[in-house]
Symmetry: C2
Subunit: 125 residues, 2 copies
DNA sequence: CACCGATATGTTTATCTTTGCATAACGGCA
DNA sequence: TGCCGTTATGCAAAGATAAACATATCGGTG
């Protein structure tokens, strides 16, 4: 075995987070909102989506509301009462946003991965 | 004036944050650490760097310490006492990290900008 | 029409993060 | 050797964020 090898390994991960905000920076659409939208699409209710996301219903509802108010249009159509007590579903705008966001994330995942490899190469020397 | 124009503008900004972490997820090297390292390089002391970064010395010191412990090697060489009461400077490893990080950030800024334009185009329809 | 389960929202509690305060150690310098 | 300004570090206080709790409303359904 040579002296080279696992010696100075840059053993660290590169993480990133992205979110949308208004120019004033107040309202935001964060990762959790995307998770919630996905959950609503799959489960048909905000409650179930919140549970699946592991956050309180109170927060889920508040985050979603603020996202909608920031955008200026609805992402969900919600009803109370009815057969199952109520339900929520995505608006066409929300579906479009989810699609666009998925593409965005994929693109950035790639860019980050690439950048990470370069960083690593530079650091490992 | 035509009907087209500022109608459905996707008036929202894309933000991102990145950081390095160990696989165990305990320690992290965040934006503030890079800011601090830059400050230390420029000002020669952690205290001054913390002030410039707008965070408490206590946090600056803690974050830096945890970053170093995560990496397993020092990013700064610090001395107490002496002519000016003490000072801090970057290790060669830290300088390398700063350089690599700057390149990384530039690359990702570009990628994010590009992805944002695409997102916008998709959303504006 | 009483019940169920989900939306809607205010209020209180708990948790997590950051700051602030206190105190010690250090080493040139007057 | 006493002072100064910085690093070093524990601990309490303050702020921010999220969870929990408490109701109220709604509209099918038994």
């Amino acid at each position: 075995m040579g002296k080279r090898g696992k010696s100075n390994r840059f053993n660290v991960f590169l993480n990133y987070k992205l979110w949308l905000s208004s120019m004033s920076g107040d309202g935001i659409i964060s990762e959790v909102v995307y998770t919630l939208l996905n959950g609503i699409r799959d489960k048909g209710s905000l409650k179930a989506a919140a549970e699946a996301a592991g956050i309180s219903y109170r927060k889920a509802w508040g985050d979603l509301k603020q996202a909608e108010s920031m955008l200026g249009y609805d992402l969900t159509e919600k009803t109370r009462g009815g057969k199952k007590g109520g339900h929520s579903e995505l608006t066409p705008a929300a579906k479009k946003l989810l699609e666009a966001y998925a593409a965005l994330q994929e693109k950035l995942d790639d860019a980050v991965e690439e950048a990470y490899l370069e960083l690593k190469k530079k650091m490992e020397n």
